[in-house]
């Protein structure tokens, strides 16, 4: 049963494998540059497991010690995760004992996959979703170990490798776009975030974007339900 679920999950995670290997390598390289070796890369990728945040931790490790600052930064950078739960409340409600791990491992990429991935007929959904999450986690750990070792051994110019993450999100954006006829939410996400970036700057725009997206979708919801009510006899 589990093997079948693993086999169904594996091909769907290949895009994330590509992104995470590149990105994990980039992270591992940068971490090695400030003197933290492979054990640290392993520890962080297993227990923090958050792409963007781990890059911030590199900066934290190279700055004066401050736990409150670290916590505050974590909550700001990861605040978008608060929204992810809404899409997965139902899907995770059947996960049973696996649920804590499913929540822990909910990265941007895993979230994007879990939202669209449907298990094929005869495949256990709970394990199918678990393997999507666990495989992604594995890729991330492998990438960061690889990058950390390579960064210590090979002197190669890795400048620009972080674009793998941007490319991954563009790919997911296109895949999502093609999966629906309703493009307004995607356009609102893109447009409002861009507007907030221009208005509030790169350090603060995420929280404003989330609020703007949330309220625009809420307005859309109210308008739609009013239209539905009026359509009823």
């Amino acid at each position: 049963m589990r093997r079948k679920a693993l086999r169904a999950a594996l091909p769907l995670t290949i895009p994330v494998l590509m992104g995470y290997l590149f990105l994990g390598i980039a992270f591992g390289v940068l971490l090695s540059r400030i003197g933290y070796h492979v054990g640290w890369a392993f520890l962080m990728s297993v227990f923090i497991y958050a792409g963007a945040m781990q890059f911030v931790v590199i900066e934290l490790l190279a700055s004066p010690f401050g736990l409150f600052n670290a916590l505050l930064l974590t909550l700001t950078v990861n605040a978008r995760h608060l929204f992810y739960g809404f899409s997965l409340l139902e899907k995770f409600s059947i996960s049973g004992k696996l649920k804590p791990y499913m929540i822990f491992s909910l990265t941007d990429e895993t979230y994007s996959l879990l939202c669209v991935a449907e298990s094929p007929q005869g495949v256990n959904r709970k394990w199918f979703r678990f393997f999507i999450a666990a495989l992604n986690h594995l890729y991330w750990v492998l990438g960061s170990l690889l990058g950390n070792v390579a960064g210590t051994l090979l002197d190669f110019d890795y400048t620009g490798i972080e674009f793998a993450m941007t490319a991954l999100f563009i790919v997911i954006f296109i895949e999502q776009w093609e999966s629906t006829k309703k493009h307004l939410p995607a356009l609102l996400g893109l447009g409002l975030s861009l507007l907030c970036l221009l208005l509030f700057g790169s350090e603060n725009f995420v929280i404003f974007s989330m609020i703007a997206i949330f309220f625009s979708l809420a307005i859309l919801y109210r308008r739609n339900s009013r239209v539905e009510r009026e359509a009823e006899p």
């Binding site: 490790l61 974590t74 990861n78 739960g85 620009g160 674009f163 999100f169 563009i170």
Partner: protein, 114 residues
């Protein structure tokens, strides 16, 4: 290394706990059932589309339009990824190709402007 081993471990621990907090809070506050508000269900359906747009912008947040190279490497590589992916739907080609192109642009073409 700037921090002692204990300080580094504490920093990593705090970040790990903070990350888990943001991931789990929604699940703690809302539980799904027959009474799940329609609005929460609706949010679950449309938020992924809005969030992915935000994440794309998040990735390019440090691009400056005032200083060279004016976001050109990101624009060129990003358009490359979008076109190649629309055309072939081959992830290796889109992500691998786009990343290599971007690295090439930064290191070879726009080198002097960085």
């Amino acid at each position: 290394m700037t921090l002692s081993t204990t300080q580094a471990l504490l920093t990593i621990g705090v970040v790990a706990v903070g990350t888990l907090l943001t991931r789990s809070l929604t699940f703690v506050l809302f539980s799904i059932g027959k009474t799940t508000p329609k609005f929460v269900k609706y949010l679950g359906e449309v938020l992924p589309f809005g969030m992915i747009g935000m994440l794309v912008i998040y990735c390019i947040r440090h691009v400056s339009l005032q200083f060279a190279p004016f976001g050109l490497p990101e624009l060129i590589a990003g358009v490359f990824v979008a076109i190649v992916h629309k055309w072939k739907h081959n992830i290796l080609l889109s992500i691998g190709g786009g990343t290599v192109l971007y690295m090439f642009l930064l290191q070879m073409v726009f080198y002097g402007t960085l």
